[in-house]
Symmetry: C4
Subunit: 195 residues, 4 copies
């Protein structure tokens, strides 16, 4: 029961965050190709953030699928994650409008970094609660993606003052790393069902 | 379980997209009839896009009703569909503000075209997963509407540079084609229940 | 199953409509009492529309509670209702900004009138589908409120050109009429459960 | 059944309110650190309001978890609570833009005060309906937090004209008071399950 409402609320917030970003793509006053091309960096940053939020929704979905019990602490860890995710539209709008200037680029990285930490905290709390023999603990395993991502974000934040293209490349790289099908949870669930 | 959350998230995103469009109908500064009439093209493009999003929600609803299993790939194909649908408010706002100029009119078509392709990909993935004997495969059948729509969108995109009224007419025609009750899935479900 | 998703989607849309209206109450540039008082008409029109949307959500909730079957036609009648409700924030913003000028006041009435008609169509379709012996048919009964409301809206639209306070009074009166607890559906459900 | 939809609608509205606030953090036109620092008060007021809404969602979640029956009156008491919560983004935006001026600071307190009263009304109505032996009545107990909060809000509203930092401190204090894990409902539920 409790889990259902946690999922519903998270779905609602993520759905709104993902859709609010599109409001940043303002309808141009002109009607020429130049007006459209002018929006290209805003559009591309929207695509990247959409993918990041999609990854979070996907992972959140899988994680809660194998969660059996929800505590008050988990509710707050989840709200903490949603807080950082809610700043993604702001950071996205800023990098979109400033053609990838250093500070906006670094702030984007900080928001991604804090979101990753918040996700890690939420995951750790659920695993602690479920026990080390739980489906989730097995599925997450060594979680090298979860541990590598913050390192790349830190690199990207530092790189923003040297070359914003390096930061940009790192953000895209991390997104691709997560996009590669990650069947850990699906596999563990399947195994558990077959036993 | 998994399906429920996919539906809830899609419902959330489509509900927000459909409602965000109305923000484009800005409250006029005047209070005369002329101020209201000035909003007419924006209003009409809102009506058209509302109907398109209604069609997508309806079809999505029916498709998932007969879907029995959801995979990670289906989650992403669904997010891909939601991405293109999320651009509809932008395209709608643009054609509304520019009284049906060629480029906005074509961009509107491109967004509809990409949404149709994304829906087709999602549908194909689910059918592949469910098997060719599945309820969904039978219900979709030859799917001539799904195959004809992209052709009309392409025609409308090309026609935008010749005569935007032709494009407009084609977009309305495709919407009407889908509005005509399509009882395929309902019928197949009824048959299956009666057997 | 189908009904659940119809309810979830309607809840989503109404929740967004009700909350989007608050965006019309723009944060004032000043920080004095005069800046706040300046927002009073916008605030009052927000209160009225919030109550109207609350009434619609409440009635929609009760109606679907006793609905047993959902058809494709009902899905579209429901979308039609949501379309008119989605125009309430626009009409609310307009009357709020123009201190109750005739045209905005009449347009507000037109939106309420069309919403009432759309609700009536949806209700009739569900009753036709459920049968005249159904719980819903008994609960709705003669539906004098549903039949009186459009008459008052028409009067209010006409009165807008004579005296906008009369229109305003009529809109408030209709809202109060619906606010008075309407236990029809609750009573019929209780009776049915006791039998 | 009824409860599910009440929860879903409340979740939707609170999710939108919490996310709409972030729209107030406007993307800066510049790209320097000064542009970001300029947003600091807006960001901090966003954090505070996010926590307040999180507390409301959490408490609402726990309260409805032990609610067994929903009446028409409860639906309206819930809408009344959502109404006051929907004004939080406005009040938040105002204190954020005016670096904590007296009137905005007091208005923020009034919105919190009315929300607290609305929550208390909703809770009382549910308890009255569930009976004094109900799980909820036991869990809420003397409800000293619920009774102290309005007193602090009143103090903060008065203090706004003397020293806005005192008001600010009081708002933060009340939030912290609620953030301290409140296991009343969780404990009572656990006891009830163990019996």
């Amino acid at each position: 029961m409790k889990k259902t409402r946690l999922e519903a609320f998270s779905d609602g917030v993520i759905a709104i965050i993902i859709t609010i970003m599109v409001l940043e793509i303002k309808v141009p006053h002109g009607q020429e190709l130049a007006d459209l091309l002018h929006l290209l960096p805003i559009f591309l940053s929207y695509v990247l953030s959409f993918i990041y939020l999609g990854i979070y929704w996907n992972n959140h979905h899988h994680m809660l699928h194998v969660t059996t019990h929800v505590t008050g602490g988990i509710l707050w860890a989840n709200l903490h994650l949603l807080f950082w995710l809610s700043l993604i539209p702001f950071a996205t709008g800023w990098i979109g409008e400033h053609h990838f200037a250093p500070l906006p680029m670094a702030v984007y990285g900080v928001v991604l970094l804090m979101s990753a930490i918040a996700y890690y905290l939420l995951q750790s709390l659920i695993i602690k609660n479920e026990g080390s023999d739980s489906l989730l603990a097995k599925a997450v395993g060594k979680d090298w993606k979860g541990k590598l991502s913050p390192v790349f974000y830190l690199l990207a934040i530092a790189a923003a003052w040297l070359n914003t293209w390096v930061s940009e490349g790192l953000y895209i790289f991390v997104a691709l790393m997560w996009l590669i099908p990650d069947r850990r949870i699906e596999d563990v669930v399947k195994e558990a069902e077959e036993e």
